[in-house]
């Protein structure tokens, strides 16, 4: 089969590549040996198990890559990726705005915290996917339903972290600001906001991961578009290689979005290292 001829040399060529890596990459690889070796070893193991076990649900890694290449080549991924990412970005930004706003109020004002705490924790603990049918009923097969799912997935962890971050800001800094005549707005912008940033970012990172989950789950369950719909479709056909290929795309989205948040975090909270 054509597929096999393409697939078999794959692990070999990746091994060959490590030998002829450019110098910069090589020194990076030496410094971060476990990080480099772990995914390589995983891929090799996957490949070996895939071929030797010959299970329907475990296609060799090379076949997954092949399916991925096909997806990208045919444009299927790109069209669905755009749709998914759009929902992800809107949903995540909404979660961020709502989460930071509610979290700040809860962290700063005891009575707001007391009023909302039970809801926030209940919704945080509750498997967010149970809301899918409700959002489907409200919004129908629209983007709004998908976005709403992403928001319930991502928002509450941001709320909880932001509230904790604001509440645990060193009270002597707030007192210092008050002694210089700062009002509530200045205390917020000049003390609470910068001081809480490291912990807030931890929440944003968690929220980002949950938003990606919410995106896929929402698409699989209610709105039959985007990457989730693709996964659902090939899952129903028991085409494991294609399902894994989509999972790889999701993985990449997750890693890239996490790296973006991390980059911003490093930039803004270097003082806390």
């Amino acid at each position: 089969m054509k597929q096999e001829t393409v697939a078999k040399p794959a692990p070999k060529s990746s091994a060959a590549r490590t030998v002829v890596m450019p110098r910069g990459l090589r020194s990076y690889a030496c410094r971060n040996l476990p990080e480099v070796l772990a995914p390589l070893a995983g891929a090799v193991l996957w490949e070996v198990l895939g071929w030797s076990l010959d299970l329907q649900w475990l296609p060799p890694f090379s076949k997954v890559l092949e399916a991925l290449v096909q997806f990208v080549g045919s444009g299927v991924i790109l069209a669905n990726l755009r749709s998914s990412l759009q929902a992800l970005i809107i949903g995540f930004c909404l979660s961020l705005i709502l989460g930071l706003f509610l979290g700040s109020l809860m962290g700063r004002y005891r009575y707001v915290e007391k009023a909302f705490d039970i809801y926030v924790h209940a919704l945080f603990v509750c498997p967010s996917i149970v809301f899918a049918p409700i959002f489907f009923a409200i919004f129908g097969l629209s983007d709004a339903a998908r976005i709403a799912i992403i928001v319930v997935y991502a928002m509450f962890v941001i709320v909880i972290n932001t509230a904790t971050a604001i509440r645990t800001v060193d009270p002597s800094l707030v007192e210092m600001a008050r002694s210089f005549g700062c009002g509530e707005a200045q205390i917020f912008s000049r003390i609470l906001l910068p001081a809480s940033l490291p912990l807030v970012f931890a929440g944003i990172r968690l929220g980002m991961g949950r938003a990606v989950k919410g995106m896929i789950n929402g698409e699989m369950l209610i709105a039959f578009v985007g990457l989730g719909a693709l996964a659902e479709k090939y899952g129903a056909q028991f085409d494991a290689a294609k399902v894994f290929a989509i999972a790889m795309v999701v993985l990449i989205i997750g890693l890239v979005s996490n790296a973006l948040v991390q980059m911003l975090d490093n930039r803004l909270t270097r003082w806390a290292d």
Binding site: S172, E175, R178, S179, G181, A195, W271
Partner: protein, 244 residues
């Protein structure tokens, strides 16, 4: 003086006056409410009986004529030395370049020139409190309120900062209220020492310190210094023994 909303009576029978350009130190056993008293004067906590006034006007909150130096420095860990010193000026709406100029002057005065871009965590405790002092002085307050400012420092650093504060005070002659638990410090710095009793804190006595200004570390050897210090210790000791 302060009933703490039905809670503990922290202070009572506090009746004293601080004159312009006077340096008053407050000492008392721990928990006597000396820090509470300072925070009331700073306008940071409300009091529900009695009156605290500056020039006859009751204190209702923080004001531009007062600035506080905090025991734990209260520096913003994300901001460099310059940004920490300009804080008070900035929040009061001073134009940015004026903030910088004034801050740079004060950084120089407290001896931190060249450290403008450092973060607080990169400085020693003594240097951090010099930033705190510069920040308070930057807003040019008439009254400087100092809450055990050198209490968190080791003895050598503390003595150096005391000497520096004395020199600064000679030049600027601000009104200072200085809370401390060190008897040496109380006598060394103050024109008068206010001795407080344990909770509820009361003014036990206002003690004049007839040591000449400008003071050098040598005054510690003078008879008057030793005498006042011993008198303070007698009283404080009696209070502590009574407590425990």
């Amino acid at each position: 003086m302060r009933d703490n909303g039905g809670g503990v009576l922290a202070l009572s029978d506090i009746d004293f006056e601080v004159h312009d350009n006077e340096f008053v130190t407050i000492i008392g056993p721990s928990g006597c409410g000396k820090t509470t008293l300072l925070r009331i004067i700073a306008g940071l906590i409300p009091y529900n009986r009695g009156e605290v006034a500056i020039d006859g006007r009751a204190i209702t909150g923080p004001g531009p004529e007062r600035a506080v130096v905090f025991q734990n420095f209260a520096l913003m860990p994300w901001a460099d030395v310059l940004a920490n010193v300009t804080f008070g000026l900035e929040v009061r709406g001073t134009p940015l370049d004026e903030c910088r100029d004034k801050a740079k002057d004060l950084i120089k005065i407290v001896g931190l020139e060249g450290f403008e871009k450092r973060l607080p965590k990169e400085l020693s405790g003594g240097m951090q409190q010099r930033v705190g002092l510069a920040r308070a002085l930057a807003v040019n307050p008439r009254i400087l309120l100092m809450d055990e400012p050198f209490g968190a420092l080791d003895e050598q650093t503390r003595r150096l900062l005391q000497e520096q504060l004395l020199r600064l005070w000679e030049e600027q002659r601000k009104t200072v209220v200085f809370v401390t638990h060190s008897m040496d410090e109380a006598v060394m710095l103050g024109d008068r020492v206010m001795l407080m009793t344990p909770r509820p804190g009361r003014v036990k006595e206002m003690i004049d310190v007839p040591l000449q200004r400008p003071r050098s570390p040598q005054v510690e050897k003078s008879g008057a210094f030793v005498e006042i210090k011993e008198y303070l210790w007698e009283n404080l000791r009696a209070m502590q023994v009574g407590e425990s």
